[in-house]
Symmetry: D2
Subunit: 323 residues, 4 copies
């Protein structure tokens, strides 16, 4: 039986990417795509690659009765605001792609939707907070160490992201003439995703009390995040590999690579790739994802699959871009 | 029942792209991937994005008995040479991605595998010659005019291609430091694909006797071809649109766009998009494809689907890259 | 003696590029850089690469008495408006980078500032209208033919431009996530530069009465224009080469290349490169410039040099980017 | 009086960039450009952007008598080999761009040619070893701290480089189809430039005994290096800024930026830009250079200027690319 889906914020990047997945998903029936600004226009007027895939129009009507799950693809802050203005019935599950419900606090009943951390809780969740893109990539690098209680010192992280992470509103740093062939640093040591990363590490290793030094970098490409992280690790490289291999064995989207990987191996897919090197006492972990897929809309579909008891990879066997 | 597939020349770009499609194709069982140079190594040692998708190894053995269809992904000239050295039994269909059998001549029993031109013949073909990438893109722009007998003058064509069209052997013009942010012209008026384009136009409009002026351009991107073509057209823009709409209505991968399209709408997909403008007496046709998919391996799978009576889109509902 | 310079519209792309040239020009003293929006801030707050090169601030004051020449770097339409609101004394020469004064008409005393067409007139001009970027590139391809009275048929032109041609205001088609790896066509057959191109061709060949079919293309790079143009030519390739060689011999920035050139040969310089091939009766001309230099600010400096009797290349011996 | 220059290894990237500088240098006369492979061909046959700038041919003859300085632009190892085979008279100074003479050792009389470290020694040097590109960028980030004896802990460094750093020989990781939109890590913790960086830090702060953790990243652009480095610093941000400001005040190419810079501010120039942030106890230093200029050929010219008593910036006032 199909999962009936509604989408809020349908004209943005993450909604577009979600549509690209859901329209081809074998178990999904798309009921409505809400957009105040584009109501009445065909989806492909905004998401032009959808030409020929669907005749659906954006709508400004909300019919919560007809759906099983609602994806919130609105900006940070706007998700909470939307839900206050538009109460969603209990019959409808929610997957929120904003940061509004990621951090645990009194009265927040959202499960943090990183399947490689919380798969069982996601299966029975009513509400899921989809993780941030940097947060996903960096957690994939560190979760096995935390699960083994092996984070004993500061972690040094650098991650470079594609421009789609900045959304579709034009800005000085997303202007092609500026960004092409350019790199720059932003929010060094202060990126807002540090909160959710720290929360997850504490979940697995409650005594974790060291710093995450994180330098985010704007890359001159559109899709993907490549992170490097290193921290002292007492064991051998083989021990580290065994630890990661075991941790990710039950998870169908994350792979430990034996050879040094490059970002385009994951672009276009919902995969995460992790690679390890040991240098003196330091364990270097390289991890990579497609920020719009495993870092946003692909992970949202993965969460939906889990919440509705479907095959975790349903609709997510995606051809890599490769070139 | 699955189609059993063998691939020759498995380490190249078109073979890699074919593998990315066939491994997720619902009706295909991959029997062997032949590569002299990589025999014994896993597929993902060369096509690194396949990590986690398959444990298959490249082989240097040929077992034609176990397969229904053989894809030849070797260079131009090498396909004919391979077939001379390795006779393929009649029980095995062949899809050749080189240019060796595209042009009609005495003793060449290959059907030219452009489904939008020869779909019925492909369905019953034993051997199919998969079209060239430029040739596919340009034919999609011109076939409806030729089918209507409306090519009455010279056609002026310019097409810019991604670097993957040049294959994976390194060369001066595929060096990143040279090609990044660079454009250049090559083989102006002389590109080898003009032969197959002319052949197809004559098939539809036997009296076609005008010139195709074709300027190929090397673009500074990896995937895709965008072509512009113009020629006098006596009718109105609406008449031209009707003609194209009718021609492509039965074909599931080619769409007429109402708005001026951009290349990335098709990158990552097997689609062709065609767009029309009329300026004075000139009809301008803009067409675009992904050179590795509709221009090569995707079209090869489309041909396989037709040859084996499967749904034409099977395994080819691909998420666009979009960004 | 130094030329005293003022600039209007100092915060835009062409003003930035002009500053990069004038600050290193051996004969120039920069008196003021006018910007309503940035007044009081250092030049390098907007043009960040100028850090360390100058302490000058943007100003909203206009002191025409202190200058010999005024560069207008405001948008199309805004130049005429500015001059109406702020009469410039006769002691000040004007070089306008907008399109407002490029076309001859009653009362327009601006000389069209293409030195390869009008060098002598520029030397004595009080007011110069700096040509458009596409217009410059395409004229360099066609002027020698027109000068020889050899344009006898339609000309077929395709030109691909970098994103800086679209200025610095953000737009959908200059968003990095959209434009990266993308190409698209715009204003086919209708580009506004056709007027000035036609005007120049008629100046050299008054009986020219054929069409210029022009397809402009948005490229996925920041700088440069590469144009292809072809038209029937009765003579041999050597005759064509002689004609171009002779035409450009007295001009220090335009070179006929013996080998097929690529765009990055001119990026970062004020050069134009022209290359010829003959195919049957068609002469193919490939031409290329840096749109911000020879297509805008570099040419403006070249015009200033001529207007003030300086060496034409003064301040314009620029290292090519090359890579 | 002109400096007479000879170049060995004239067909490579660093020689090309050196030629682009020396041909416009006011004090230089180029006497010969040696290339075994290209002897007899014009310089612009290899360095195509030099079309029109010079008629000089590559030569396989060596005339050391006619020159004052010899630039060695051959690969690592090849410089030492060349000098063994071809003794250079004492009348000729040498600037070697390889790594062969960068590390102090018995019998090596080369001065390490980083003017911001060794300017006075360079002025009187007979032989100069030009620093590596990563090494230059990272030293600019750390020298002021070492000079103040303020390196008291490990330093964490990440630097992303353009593809020209890998030279012009084609390889898998410089193939456009692979590298476009890709990033990857290489030689983590082991890069060969760590030796010269450590040597310089010890020169300024002999008791420096901590680790440099260095992750080099391959970027998807052609030119430039952006490095981030952080380490504990006891003072305030203002104290750090004063320290850097004072250190670089006498050096004409290195600037401390007040605002967070981006790589393209230095591309095309011989500048280094340094920027500081303080986060808790960590001082973050961002530094950037053009790897072919300040990281190679530009610095070589700067060294030549110093060795011959010329203005340090002679021939090096270069327009930034900016876009």
């Amino acid at each position: 039986m199909s999962i009936h889906v509604g989408i809020i914020g349908g004209a943005g990047y993450t909604a577009g990417e979600l549509l690209r997945l859901l329209l081809f998903h074998p178990d999904v029936e798309l009921k409505f795509v809400h957009s105040q600004s584009q109501a009445g226009k065909p989806l492909h007027s905004t998401h032009q690659d959808l030409l020929g895939e669907t005749d659906l129009l954006f709508t400004d009507a909300l019919d919560f009765d007809g759906i099983d799950v609602l994806f919130l693809c609105v900006g940070h802050g706007a998700a909470a605001t939307f839900l206050e203005a538009h109460p969603v019935p209990d019959s409808v599950k929610i997957i929120d792609l904003s940061q509004d419900f990621r951090l645990k606090r009194e009265g927040n009943n959202y499960v943090y939707g990183l399947p490689e951390l919380n798969r069982e809780a996601i299966r029975t969740a009513q509400h899921v907070a989809n993780p941030g893109c940097f947060a996903t990539c960096i957690q994939l690098a560190l979760l096995p160490l935390a699960a083994a209680g092996q984070l004993h010192d500061d972690v040094h992280i650098n991650a470079v992201t594609g421009s789609t992470g900045a959304g579709q509103a034009p800005s000085a740093t997303t202007h092609f003439s500026w960004r092409s062939n350019n790199v720059s640093v932003y929010k060094a040591f202060n990126h807002q995703h540090l909160g959710e990363i720290g929360q997850s590490l504490h979940q697995l290793q409650p005594d974790f009390a060291h710093k995450l030094h994180f330098i985010p970098v704007r890359g001159n490409f559109t899709r993907g995040i490549l992170a490097t992280a290193y921290t002292p690790f007492a064991g051998s490289l083989d021990e580290a590999k065994a630890l990661y291999q075991d941790y990710y064995a039950p998870h169908p989207f994350v792979y430990l690579s034996d050879s040094n990987p490059a970002l385009k191996q994951v672009v276009g897919t919902n995969k995460g790739i992790v690679y390890l090197e040991k240098h003196d006492d330091q364990l270097l972990i390289i991890s990579m994802i497609d920020n719009l897929l495993k870092g946003a809309s692909g992970q949202a579909v993965q969460n939906m699959n889990l919440m509705f008891g479907r095959e975790e990879k349903a609709g997510l066997t995606l051809k890599a871009l490769a070139f």
